[in-house]
């Protein structure tokens, strides 16, 4: 049973514009959420995270928003750059300290 869902498998955005990636979850016990970025033939790398007690966390061009009542989080990338072209995974930490991952969203930033 997939507890973390990324319903958009791909996203194409122009360079300089905003990228918005979405993630939904079903388990209300998740207490921490993370976004990972993955390039081809490499392992995922940590991008940004947010605790369940917050609704926003910002780090440079990356902002994560959490809506607990809707069990929804989003990642905003502003402005998008060619180097942002990658697969982005949403992950949630369960009460056992293990991460549940979404299926990923492929972002393509076009010139």
């Amino acid at each position: 049973d997939q507890q973390v869902k990324q319903n958009s498998p791909s996203l194409s955005v122009q360079e300089g514009r905003i990228s918005i990636l979405n993630c939904d979850y079903t388990n209300s016990m998740f207490d921490y959420f993370l976004w990972y970025k993955k390039y081809p033939a490499e392992g995922p790398t940590f991008l940004i995270s947010i605790s369940s007690i917050k609704d926003k966390n910002e780090d440079g061009r990356f902002t994560v928003f959490l809506n607990k009542s809707a069990k929804h989080l989003s990642l905003h990338i502003v402005p998008s750059q060619p180097g942002d072209s990658a697969v982005y995974f949403c992950a949630a930490n369960d009460s056992w300290g293990k991460l549940q991952f979404g299926a990923g969203t492929q972002v393509v930033v076009t010139p």
């Binding site: 997939q2 490499e42 392992g43 995922p44 940590f46 995974f89 991460l99 991952f101």
Partner: protein, 113 residues
């Protein structure tokens, strides 16, 4: 500081063969993890370890075994390989439980035919 390293990068196995995927980390992390990623899917946890000598099953442990004799190494053993084990395998480590950021190796692409 190499981080998390995995060998081999690629491997083709015949059905019924066995192999060990190697994982080493040099960050002195207590927690280590093995995931598999199938096409179009997220990462699924196979096994994890909270320290040397302690391992536990994740979401998809069937067909795999692990051991953790040192802090640095966490090998994953496939016995009697099956086509369903064709996947990309990632090893990861983290400093402690509650340090939710995990550091991943580059992955091993395994094909079973």
């Amino acid at each position: 500081n190499a981080g998390v390293t995995q060998t081999p990068k690629f491997r083709i196995l015949k059905i019924g063969q066995s192999m060990t995927l190697q994982c080493t980390q040099d960050m002195n992390h207590n927690y280590m993890y093995w995931y598999r990623q199938d096409p179009g899917m997220g990462l699924k946890l196979i096994y994890y370890s909270v320290g040397a000598g302690i391992t536990d099953k994740g979401e998809v442990p069937n067909g795999y075994n692990v051991s953790r004799s040192t802090t640095e190494d966490f090998p994953l053993r496939l016995e009697l390989a099956a086509p369903s084990q064709t996947s990309v395998y990632f090893c990861a480590s983290s400093y402690r439980r509650g340090s939710y950021e995990q550091y991943f190796g580059p992955g091993t692409r395994l094909t079973v035919t």
